[in-house]
């Protein structure tokens, strides 16, 4: 009896630990962010059109007051994520439909692990593929067509990031499509619908809530992704929608702000925490919404 109690206490402590650490992280983010907003007004951060976090080290330095407008970073983040989703959504969904509705057992036995291997590649490997292979290729092709292409572009980072999240979309959507009851397919096929009509008119609409949940999870992954953009998207904080430009993202700037020697009370360093909190807030919201959608959908057919 006493042994059981000890075990229960240990188990609870282990579970509590993870929550405590998370709470601690969030709290430290919040405290540092509050400090940051003591130095830089919130409105400058949220609505500023310029990001250049260099602050003066000595009072006599000129031209480096530092501007902390997050909009160029949001712009870069969303541009790359959008490119990634444009690449990943059709690839992920079509492979999910193929896997769940058309593939033979033996094909599935090969393709599914193949996609899962894709999910297991370290992002740094994707990153140097983007930086060393795809970006130069895009630049060369663009130049031949007479286009101005930066050597590190949003397009290269976005495409590679898209490929990275394909397995996420396809495996989540595959699960969702598989959980559409066979009886619905039978009903449709039994009325003389073809298989493709059944998929288009019955299976996919039934799976739509779950599929959109999986897309949201993938988007949140893309927004928080760091390594690929760090290596392949460049550093220029620009307000641009041109995928051939170099852009930068929230994650990349956090890394840049915190590498090297830093003063821990300067606005420059503290801004990283504000960015972190902002990013955390966005991805948390997306994840909560996405998980809610997916769960609600699964209950519907249980």
């Amino acid at each position: 009896m006493w042994f059981d109690r000890i075990v229960i206490v240990l188990l609870a402590a282990a579970a509590g630990m993870a929550i405590l650490v998370t709470v601690g992280i969030v709290l430290s983010l919040i405290f540092e962010t509050i400090q940051f907003f003591g130095k830089v007004p919130l409105s400058n951060f949220l609505f500023g059109l310029e990001w250049s976090p260099q602050t003066a080290i000595r009072a006599d330095q000129v031209g480096s007051g530092g501007s902390f407008g997050i909009l160029p970073l949001i712009n870069g983040t969303l541009l790359i994520s959008a490119i990634a989703m444009i690449v990943a959504t059709p690839l992920g969904l079509t492979s999910a439909v193929y896997l769940s509705e058309y593939s033979s057992k033996s094909a599935r036995a090969w393709i599914k692990p193949g996609l899962e291997i894709l999910a297991g590649i370290p992002t740094v490997v994707y990153g140097f593929f983007a930086a060393l292979t795809l970006a130069p290729f895009i630049r060369m092709t663009g130049n031949q067509m007479g286009l101005e292409v930066a050597s590190e572009s949003a397009l290269a980072a976005g495409i590679v990031m898209g490929i990275m999240i394909v397995p996420l979309i396809s495996s989540l959507s595959d699960d969702v499509i598989n959980s559409v009851p066979q009886s619905l397919r039978d009903a449709s096929l039994g009325m003389g619908a073809t298989q493709s009509e059944t998929i288009r008119r019955v299976v996919l609409p039934a799976a739509l809530p779950g599929i959109s949940g999986s897309l949201l999870l993938a988007a949140s992954r893309a927004i928080g992704e760091t390594m690929i953009v760090l290596m392949a998207a460049g550093m220029a904080a620009k307000l641009t929608l041109n995928p051939l430009d170099a852009v930068t993202t929230i994650t990349v700037q956090i890394v840049a702000l915190l590498t090297g020697d830093q003063e821990f009370d300067s606005a420059k360093t503290l801004s990283a925490f504000a960015l972190g909190l902002f990013l955390f807030g966005i991805t948390l919201c997306i994840n909560v919404v996405a998980l809610h959608i997916v769960r609600k959908y699964q209950e519907q057919y249980d």
Binding site: M191, G192, Q300
Partner: protein, 253 residues
């Protein structure tokens, strides 16, 4: 005597190497309700699903022999399964309305078979189908509600409305009342009796009382063979085969 609408001759069905149906000859008469009864695993559902080739969906399933509907061999290579299933509709064990509105559920077949594109014709046909299924009065003012907001019995009648919307010749029903309560069952049974005027109905049922109530002809299956087939009345009052008698009196099954 009227000509049969469905004729099966020497039908064998296999799952891989296991034989589920042994050499069945069976004639099904038009505008009658024919009940398939028998203990679980006797092959009655398998045989039912062979009538509109739903077994095609099971990769391991093979069929040999002759199965004709209105004189046409439905397993001939040239046969279009889509057209066949438009002629031979199906209602399943568990009500399975699509996650669409009541209206869209019934209109589904009209759309996929492009029976009509005119909006008013579509509405007329949906109303007609719902009326034939005895559901119109209950849903007329909420056609846009989701199909699965209905009760189980209403859902099953919705599925029947969906099946008859494309005016099939034959309706196959695989234990259509097994998921329904007794009151909903009575409503569906009455509906089946009404539908007999316009359709040929084949129903698989576990309930002998149901077979006795709704059918004019009954086929008793046992271990993949057709043991006895004839007028429902004579099967139940005067079975010729010992196995039929044992099943009906509750000694097997």
């Amino acid at each position: 005597m009227t000509d049969p609408i469905i004729t099966a001759r020497g039908v064998d069905i296999f799952y891989d190497t296991k034989q589920a149906i042994h050499n069945i000859d069976l004639d099904i008469l038009p505008n009658k309700v024919t009940a398939f009864i028998g203990p679980s695993g006797c092959g009655k559902s398998t045989f039912l699903r062979a009538i509109n080739r739903m077994n095609d969906l099971i990769p391991s399933c093979r069929i040999s022999g002759d199965m004709k509907i209105a004189g046409q061999d439905i397993y001939a290579p040239a046969v279009d399964v889509v057209a066949l299933r438009a002629q031979v509709g199906m209602v399943f064990q568990k009500p399975n309305p699509f996650p669409k509105s009541i209206f869209e559920n019934v209109a589904y077949g009209l759309k996929i078979h492009k029976i009509t594109t005119s909006k008013t014709e579509m509405q007329d046909r949906v109303e007609w189908s719902l009326r034939s299924a005895g559901l119109w009065d209950e849903v007329a003012d909420r056609l846009d509600d989701p199909g699965n907001s209905l009760s189980g019995g209403q859902q099953q009648r919705l599925c029947i409305a969906r099946a008859i919307a494309i005016k099939p010749k034959v309706i196959l029903m695989d234990e259509p009342c097994s998921a329904l309560d007794p009151i909903a069952t009575a409503v569906v049974e009455e509906l089946i009796d009404n539908l007999r005027k316009d359709y040929t109905i084949v129903i698989v049922t576990h309930s002998m009382q149901q077979a006795a109530r709704v059918s004019q002809r009954t086929a008793f299956f046992h271990l993949g063979s057709l043991v006895e087939y004839g007028e429902t009345k004579s099967i139940f009052t005067n079975p010729t085969d010992e196995r039929t008698q044992n099943y009906i009196t509750g000694r097997i099954g």
